[in-house]
């Protein structure tokens, strides 16, 4: 799995492994598999997966031994050796189910998304909840997942006027991706629903519900169920 990886020294403490130049499920799957492998084999590296690349951060002075070679080269050799045996280290991805109340106040842009797609709101909801998504990476804000796997029929442009405040839990579409706002944030994606689950809790040792590589499915719930789950969460 290593021959077609490009390695690039980004900074004294950072080496980037690039697996491709596209937003693509298969490329991202290789990124996630490599991250899972390297976390096990080389736990002293910090692995940061993105769509098509994996950033490794390391202690540059700890990886130097005075022989004139860059620590990046040593990290590259160690990572390549680990990835050459990757098959035995790929754990099954986690599968998470996220309840979503679609439309209404919870998804104020659902009607507009439906109009842009030439579908009715029910069809948008059904297509959105039918797909199997993968967390390609987390970014923008703590715990914000960029999800791959959106039905191409649901790809819509971002809003021309971004909102100053998107409510926490909002499920949204931006381009050909979907995501969930973990906190109240400014944002320009189209809001189609909201989950009552808390995605990010800084006080927890394991703060993010979702991690790169996770498989995610949405299931539609009604407002009563939303309120009940939200109340359970805060109880």
């Amino acid at each position: 799995m290593t021959p077609d990886i490009e390695f690039e020294a980004l900074a004294e403490d950072a080496l980037l492994l690039r697996f491709g130049n596209r937003i693509d499920l298969d490329i991202n799957a290789r990124v996630q598999a490599a991250a899972a492998c390297l976390r096990q084999r080389l736990p002293q590296l910090e692995c940061v997966p993105a769509y098509a690349s994996l950033l490794l951060r390391f202690d540059p002075l700890g990886w130097s031994n005075g022989d004139g070679q860059l620590p990046h080269w040593r990290v590259q050799v160690a990572a390549s050796a680990a990835l050459a045996e990757a098959d035995t280290y790929i754990p099954a991805p986690r599968e998470l189910l996220i309840p979503v109340c679609y439309g209404g106040d919870y998804g104020p842009d659902l009607a507009e998304v439906a109009a842009l797609c030439g579908l009715d709101a029910q069809a948008v909801t059904t297509l959105h909840a039918a797909a199997d998504y993968r967390v390609a990476m987390l970014g923008f804000a703590p715990g914000f997942p960029y999800l791959l796997g959106l039905d191409p029929q649901l790809a819509v442009p971002r809003r021309s006027n971004p909102r100053q405040r998107v409510p926490a839990g909002s499920v949204a579409i931006g381009g050909n991706q979907t995501g969930i706002y973990p906190d109240e944030l400014p944002g320009g994606w189209q809001l189609i629903g909201r989950t009552p689950l808390r995605l990010f809790d800084i006080a927890s040792g394991n703060p993010s519900r979702l991690a790169p590589g996770d498989h995610v499915r949405f299931h539609a719930i009604d407002e009563d169920r939303f309120l009940q789950l939200a109340a359970d969460r805060t109880a």
């Binding site: 991250a35 910090e46 940061v48 769509y51 098509a52 130097s64 703590p142 914000f144």
Partner: protein, 352 residues
């Protein structure tokens, strides 16, 4: 033990070495903008566990110390006084109970550090007490300090028996700030970025030859550089990748941006350079309106400078620790002469 903020200063926040290991969950490192200055402030008060200090920006806060405290100030030269007494920076100061420390403006630079023995003991989040003001993580959701905030202090063995003295003391020695603060700003070393080759020829010449001006819009997330717009030979779309502090990004506006301590965890702008890690604290000290110019550097040189700085810093921290151990008024009386009461020394002069 606690400290109350009386006046907040311009943008003061608690910072330590940063939050490591959570970038893949969307949480950046944050931490002190001028790492060595933060480390030395801690060393001067005998803290050795990476305690949180207050990072002051442009104008420092005023604080009231309920109990006697051992403090140190480092970083950009900043006004500091207790009552009418001017406090020196880069040394250890012993404040009596009830002291009001008034920090003021900085004559140059823009980040100073106030460390207190025992450290500011707010609840750590994900292993750090740093305030990530951008991601709203940290004490009071990472917001800047406000008047009325009460910050708890950690416990530590007393450095000297402060209970015996009601006076303000300052150690008879201080560090030379020279290698740790740029009084004569030099060009900053820049490593060639991934997309350097795609800059047009004029832009590359500008990048490595001309002065840029630090924009008013800078903060702990990024420093925008005005002056010359830079251009790629052809527009270039890239997909988001992990981002790092020190990365020089080129957004479509053509005004380069250097990511700082609160760098977003991912970024999608072309990377035209990477500031050498040892020069990141130097850029952090350039205030809006200051000039910045870059010189071409290599990874080899950058790593060599980083190793040399770390060695120098470690040696200095060791030396400070030894000298602080020598301050023992009971077992080592002669060393006590190193403690001089600036009140005693200054009073005759002030009255003349």
């Amino acid at each position: 033990m606690s400290v109350e903020i009386i006046k907040p200063g311009l943008s003061s926040s608690l910072q330590d070495g940063g939050r490591f290991g959570y970038q893949s969950l969307g949480v950046g490192r944050a931490g002190a903008m001028d790492g060595p200055a933060w480390q030395l402030a801690n060393a001067l008060v005998g803290n050795s566990q990476g305690e949180a200090a207050i990072e002051c920006t442009m104008i420092g806060p005023s604080l009231r110390f309920e109990q006697p405290a051992v403090i140190a100030l480092t970083g950009a030269p900043m006004k500091a006084a207790v009552e009418e007494l001017v406090l020196p920076m880069w040394t250890t100061c012993l404040l009596p109970a009830g002291s009001v420390l008034r920090l003021g403006g900085m004559s140059m630079g823009c980040r100073s550090y106030l460390a207190v023995r025992g450290g500011f003991a707010v609840t750590p989040l994900l292993g750090s007490r740093s305030s990530d003001m951008h991601a709203r993580i940290g004490h009071e959701h990472g917001r800047a300090l406000r008047a009325g905030d009460v910050l708890p202090l950690g416990t530590a063995e007393p450095l000297v028996d402060l209970a015996q003295s009601n006076e303000l003391h300052v150690l008879g020695w201080s560090l030379d700030p020279q290698p740790w603060f740029d009084f004569n700003p030099q060009p900053l070393a820049l490593l060639r970025g991934s997309h350097d080759a795609q800059l047009d020829a004029v832009s590359r010449r500008l990048l490595y030859g001309e002065n840029f001006v630090v924009s008013q819009q800078g903060n702990r997330t990024a420093s925008r550089l005005d002056g010359h717009a830079l251009h790629l030979q052809a527009p270039f779309e890239m997909i988001s990748e992990a981002a790092l502090p020190g990365t020089l990004q080129l957004p479509p506006s053509g005004q380069p941006i250097v990511l700082m301590a609160e760098a977003p965890v991912t970024g999608g702008y072309p990377r035209i350079g990477q500031l050498a890690a040892v020069d990141l604290p130097r850029l952090a000290q350039r205030r809006p309106g200051d000039t910045v110019c870059f010189r071409d550097s290599s990874m080899d040189e950058a790593l060599g400078r980083l190793a040399a700085r770390q060695q120098r810093l470690a040696r200095l921290i060791d030396t400070i620790a030894q000298r602080l151990q020598d301050i023992d008024p009971i077992q080592d009386r002669p060393i006590r002469d190193r403690l001089k009461s600036i009140r005693r020394e200054r009073t005759p002069m002030d009255r003349s």
